[in-house]
């Protein structure tokens, strides 16, 4: 009976979820050897453009790309500011001037997830609804101002059981306002499944950042991985 009552809700969520996937959101995945739980948009960009080969905590990483598909297109648009032609030319320029290596590019979300799972330091992206095993999904954030704030205490959002049991995942994007003392003052929803958003916002309100000189804002993407 309980399940029957939840069917319309699940249907709505499934519909919303598919629209969300069409919008092209991706999740950033990493091999479990990567110690961090969250990563900034600018750090993702510099890793995939080979401007750096280690993360801010010193972990060495290897970028892994998709050869094409909606996740790849979304990733290029959201994180790299380049279309696929420009990105391929960029990598060829690196390779033929000796300034970089061609990153691994795989055919599907499944291949990317499998490679990331088995390769130490690998970091890649798959569509937000793709099932992933043996990898960790990273939270992505972007500070609106230049003053990046270190996350000191993080509370994981509770996965709504109704969605988890129906294998519904996705990514919630929120904008947080962080007070100078490090507490989260305000959380504003940018996009995502409303049920997941409620859980994400409740958790983010409990996060604590390092104290700063002034109030700062950040955009955060919180993945909910139904395959976990």
């Amino acid at each position: 009976m309980k399940n029957q009552r939840s069917l319309p809700l699940v249907a709505a969520v499934v519909m919303f979820g598919s629209i969300h996937a069409m919008a092209g959101n991706v999740k950033i995945i990493a091999n479990p050897s990567v110690k961090i739980e969250s990563i900034s948009v600018s750090e993702i960009k510099s890793v995939f453009l080979e401007e750096r080969n280690s993360l801010h905590d010193g972990t060495r990483v290897e970028p892994v790309l998709s050869k094409g598909g909606p996740a790849h297109e979304s990733f290029l648009k959201e994180y790299l500011d380049k279309n696929n032609d420009a990105l391929q030319d960029y990598y060829r320029t690196l390779v033929f001037t000796g300034k970089g290596l061609m990153p691994k590019a795989l055919r599907s979300d499944e291949e990317v997830a499998a490679y990331v799972a088995k390769t130490r330091g690998a970091i890649g992206y798959v569509s937000s609804t793709a099932p992933v095993d043996g990898v960790k999904t990273l939270t992505v954030y972007q500070f609106a101002s230049d003053g990046a704030r270190k996350l000191i205490s993080r509370v994981e959002p509770a996965y709504p059981m109704i969605l988890l049991s129906n294998h519904i995942g996705g990514t919630v994007r929120v904008k947080v306002t962080i007070a100078s003392n490090g507490t989260v003052e305000d959380v504003e929803l940018i996009g995502g499944n409303p049920i997941l958003a409620e859980a994400a916002m409740a958790a983010v309100k409990k996060w604590v950042y390092a104290a700063g000189r002034s109030r700062t804002q950040a955009e955060i993407s919180i993945p909910f991985d139904a395959s976990r």
Partner: protein
């Protein structure tokens, strides 16, 4: 004969397949990559011979290829090398050269260092000018990237300091390269060839010297817009032999020339949005040389610019066009000054080349393309520094206009 051709094609196909598969492997648990490229061109011109080829008859003496190997040795250290060879009419002549070979250590995203033989970063394409697969056109605008003068600025033996500095979300990103070292002309390059082809031939057996400069480029907050500036200084010292034209009875004697000033400024911008790419660059090169064993001087002020646009009209088809503008003034002193008056009127065809170009590029697959291109040139700019048209290749004199058809195909893996 037919059977032999089929065999040959099969072997080529297998070799390419092997190369494509063998480009990434591990050695001592370190990632190693092999990459390569090759291109073959054909040029037909209606009148003047161009780029040291017999293009008025149609010439396919336009081949180049290269191969490189790179290895990530440690987290920050990468090493690699590339061999390059070309035959462009009377240039290159199949003499391979070490194109680049260096060790690169990146300490931080904002600071790295590389040392060895390094491609020189000037403008949008100086370090990538050999790689036709990166652009829509078959030839880069010759006013800024002359094929025959490739050796003048292509690489230096020395080092670079480089890095990328994010300026925040609202200010974009800045990349810098500061370099210094020594560069050398190949005997088979355009400048020594030009000196051999003059009315008073000089056999320049060595030419080169220190080269240093910097490049700063700003990826602006406006998505897709890049602007930059480059500066390069170099000092050349050239040696060889010649017969003094003012005293032929002296026979062949040693020759020396050296630059008193040699600098280059380049300003550039690039905008890309979706399938559209727009480029524009301006380059000014100033050279003051003391030549003929100190008896003469020559000054050349070369100004080139272009505006180009390309659009990918279909998955495998790109169309493009550019206008390339080249103008040069020259002044001579000493003995040369008595023989040659200054050339300052850039409206004369001997002092300029205005080139209107239309291009089409077809990508047969990810690794192989074919290009068709039409050039409509006014002027031949036959000054003391090479610019595509050489008196020795056009013994009957120059016509003011040249139309050229360029067909080029390239492979890369």
């Amino acid at each position: 004969m037919r059977r032999r051709t089929v065999w040959l094609l099969s072997i080529c196909f297998c070799a390419v397949r092997l190369c494509l598969q063998a480009q990434d492997f591990k050695l001592f648990d370190r990632q190693v990559q092999l990459h390569g490229f090759a291109s073959q061109g054909f040029i037909y011109t209606n009148d003047n011979n161009w780029l040291t080829m017999k293009t008025a008859d149609g010439s396919a003496a336009f081949t180049d290829f290269g191969a490189n190997v790179s290895m990530q040795v440690t987290e920050g250290l990468r090493i690699g090398a590339q061999v390059y060879d070309r035959n462009l009419g009377n240039l290159g002549e199949w003499h391979p050269s070490l194109d680049w070979a260096f060790a690169d250590y990146r300490f931080k995203p904002w600071f790295g260092i590389r040392g060895g033989k390094v491609k020189t970063v000037i403008g949008l394409y100086n370090d990538t000018q050999d790689y036709e697969f990166l652009i829509t056109s078959a030839l880069l605008p010759q006013s800024v990237y002359p094929l025959d003068m490739r050796d003048a600025n292509i690489a230096h033996e020395g080092g670079d300091l480089y890095g990328d500095v994010p300026l925040g979300r609202r200010a974009g990103n800045v990349s810098y390269t500061v370099y210094g070292g020594e560069r050398r002309d190949s005997y088979y390059g355009g400048y020594p060839y030009a000196l051999r082809e003059t009315v008073a031939p000089i056999n320049l057996t060595s030419n080169g010297g220190p080269q240093y400069g910097a490049d700063l480029r700003w990826q602006t907050p406006l998505r897709g817009l890049l602007v930059g500036i480059s500066r390069m200084n170099q000092h050349d010292d050239g040696k060889g032999t010649f017969v003094p034209f003012w005293n032929p009875a002296a026979g062949t004697i040693p020759y020396r020339e050296y630059t008193r000033h040699y600098w280059l400024n380049q300003y550039y911008g690039q905008y890309g949005k979706g399938r559209l790419r727009l480029d524009s660059e301006y380059r000014r090169t100033y050279i003051y040389v003391v030549d003929f064993n100190g008896t003469s001087t020559g000054q050349a002020d070369v100004r080139g610019w272009y505006v180009s646009g390309s659009y990918r009209v279909a998955k495998r088809l790109h169309l493009g066009s550019y206008y390339s503008h080249y103008a040069m003034t020259t002044h001579y002193g000493g003995i040369l000054g008595m023989a040659f008056p200054p050339r300052v009127d850039t409206s004369l065809p001997e002092n300029h080349i205005y080139d209107k170009v239309v291009s089409a590029r077809i990508d047969l697959n990810r690794f192989w393309n074919v290009k068709l291109e039409g050039h409509f040139m006014n002027g031949y700019g036959d000054g003391p520094y090479p610019d595509g048209f050489y008196p020795g290749d056009n013994p009957a004199g120059f016509k003011p206009n040249t139309n050229a058809l360029v067909v080029r195909t390239g492979l890369n893996f």
